[in-house]
Amino acid sequence: MPSIKVLAEREEKGVRFTSGHTLCAGCAEPMVVRTVLNSIEEPVVVASPTGCLEVATSRFPGTAWNVPWIHVAFENAAAVISGVEAAYKALRKKGLMNRRIRFVVFAGDGGTYDIGLQALSGALERGHDFLYVCLNNEAYMNTGVQRSSATPKCASATTAPAGEAIPGKPQERKDLTEIVVAHGVPYVAQAAVSHLIDLANKVERAMKYEGPKFINVLTTCPLGWRTPRDSAIQQAKLAVETRYWPLYEVMEGRYKINYKPKERVPIEEWLKTQGRFRHLFRDPRGKELIAQIQAEVDRRWELLLQKEKCFGAEA
């Protein structure tokens, strides 16, 4: 498994994602991108849909990418990487390509959970050999914090504001990780920016499989979550401790929870540190809503424990 030393050595050997991009101060995305890229030994080609990462790293005539990188549109990164991978296979068949190249997508939750879901599903079903990393910051941050289907219930977003009548987003977040699991692809995982060695291990394990691989990474957005700029790691860590964002992987259908918090930290502890949930602590309905959020966190955690029990990697 890659240690911090190995990751640092790889970074020194050749920086794949350079500084000089225009991502916000305190943004968690670069940590995830660098960790993922440094966890892959072979050369990589990267595709990104439209989003924070894309606009902040590719402003012509500069670029933060020291690996081949392509952006086409918002909803099609999985289709684009399908084409790149297909061309690679075709050139290999013709004997025009004999190096091993790996293919990676970095996409936000909007480009993955919502507008890019069809292209993702198609690419997963067709079985292209690629790693899809969702930089899940739980809203359309690039366009100004609009709600997505990854936005948690009750979070205030600009298209689901905390209003007098409706206190933030009325719906629960979509469980995309399980939707990807349902495609029967060889490797699916959840990770968080707070646990970078866990992420590095997951990437390394994922790359041992042929076919589609998917990692959903909780990637804090201090701007959109309305938390201090130096809070990204703490925020993600608390999401894991509260069991809101379990770290787990599904390898060929076998579940493994990578970390089981010893104590049940109430979800309130996470909610109260974020501006997007502030209204819950002022609104008379807040208590009941927090209880609902807690119930859903508990339900999903119990379900995951049951899945591990029934379809565990060690079973």
Binding site: H71, A79, K93, M97, R99, I101, E125
Partner: protein, 388 residues
């Protein structure tokens, strides 16, 4: 080798002979047969192409863009709503200067939904930055599919090329087609030379960057330069193709009995075949009529069209789609082409054949007979075969 085949089979055969690295395609009537024929070739091991059977046309062209940027030779095919779904990516393919060749089985756009031919799909992509060629028959569809590859891949052009063939009228009709030998086609198209491909991992390139007001304009201007180079490349590819095929492709359009014509018709696609019969009938009756059938529609060869029509008294321009709120798109092209002339022909704009409505020889004869009675160019649409 002469074969009796459909337009679809002719295009599929051209694709088999070109043997692109990647074909990404999604079914839609009336294009599906191209996808089916090609899947057969792949599954029977006749080609080494990677077939990407995508889940939508949007993904079809997206996969083509990825594959072309990666360094592969890439083809696809679609029709109507499929092109509508692709249009976002078509503009991007042109902006990224990717030489993707696409067969477009022309079909009307919804609503009402209809599966038959008109040119509303091609018109939708008019300003996309793709080169657009129209075929009159299956032979031309075959020939231009091969030529399109060379036009698209020429370093001065590097743009997507759409080969239009009328849905059902050409795609599903069996016609005699002279096929070239596989080796002749392979030699003609040659090896694909990618430009800064993604798969050249030792020379990383950022494809599809974000360009703000400080650079966007210059990048789009460079794209226009590719379009401006296309006509010259089109002619030289035609010349070379005429030599290997023995068929005469000389010019941006076919001028049929136009040289001494007093009245002329301008029409795209298969209706030009019907128009030739009408021209012959009227010529036999002593009326000096002719036809101009553009092969190259985008970029539009305005200067040459203007010169070819300068001597004519009146021209009927036939559009197989509305450009709602104004005159037909082909009419606007022809009118612009004639504007610089000192003495301009009278123009009339006819909308015809929408949603697969048949256009007959007597109807086109009637258009020619109507032309001498039109005394000035009017901003009013006329219709062929419409129940008012």
């Amino acid at each position: 080798m002469r074969k009796a085949i459909t337009g679809h089979k002719a295009v599929a055969e051209a694709m088999r002979q070109i043997e692109p690295d990647v074909v990404a395609v999604y079914p839609i009537t009336p294009q599906s047969e191209i996808a089916e024929y090609y899947a057969e070739y792949v599954h029977n091991g006749l080609v080494r192409t990677e077939l990407v059977p995508v889940e939508s046309e949007h993904s079809a062209l997206s996969a083509c863009v990825g594959a072309a940027a990666a360094g592969g030779r890439v083809m696809t095919a679609t029709s109507s709503q499929g092109l509508a779904l692709m249009v976002e990516v078509l503009y991007i393919a042109a902006g990224l200067r990717l030489p993707i060749v696409m067969a477009l089985a022309n079909r009307s756009l919804s609503a009402p939904i209809n599966i038959h031919c008109d040119h509303s799909d091609a018109y939708l992509a008019r300003d996309s930055g793709a080169v657009q060629i129209f075929a009159e028959n299956a032979q031309e569809a075959y020939d231009y599919t091969i030529m399109a590859q060379r036009i698209a891949e020429d370093m001065r052009v590097r743009l997507p090329v759409i080969v239009n063939l009328d849905g059902f009228t050409l795609t599903h009709t069996v016609q005699p087609v002279d096929l070239l030998e596989d080796e002749v086609v392979k030699k003609f198209v040659g090896e694909f030379k990618p430009y800064s491909p993604l798969l050249d991992v030792d020379h990383p390139v950022t494809w599809g960057p974000f360009a703000m007001p400080d650079y966007y304009f210059e990048l789009k201007r460079a794209q226009q330069a590719g379009m401006e180079a296309a006509p010259g490349v089109f002619l030289s590819v035609q010349r070379e193709f005429s030599q290997i095929s023995g068929r005469r492709y000389l010019g941006f359009f076919e001028a049929y009995r136009l040289e001494d014509a007093e009245y002329a018709l301008v029409v795209l696609g298969s209706t030009a075949g019907t128009a030739k019969v009408a021209v012959d009938e009227l010529r036999a009756r002593g009326m000096k009529v002719g036809l101009l059938k553009p092969w190259l529609w985008r970029p539009f060869p305005a200067k040459e069209v203007g010169e070819a029509l300068a001597h004519v008294k009146a021209v009927a321009v036939l559009d197989r789609a509305f450009s709602f709120g104004t005159m037909g798109a082909l009419f606007a092209d022809v009118a612009s082409a004639l504007y610089p002339l000192e003495k301009r022909p009278i123009l009339a704009n006819y909308i015809y054949g929408l949603g697969g409505r048949d256009t007959t020889v007597p109807e086109l004869v009637h258009v020619f007979e109507e032309l001498p009675k039109i005394k000035k160019t009017e901003w009013a649409l006329r219709y062929i075969g419409l129940r008012e």
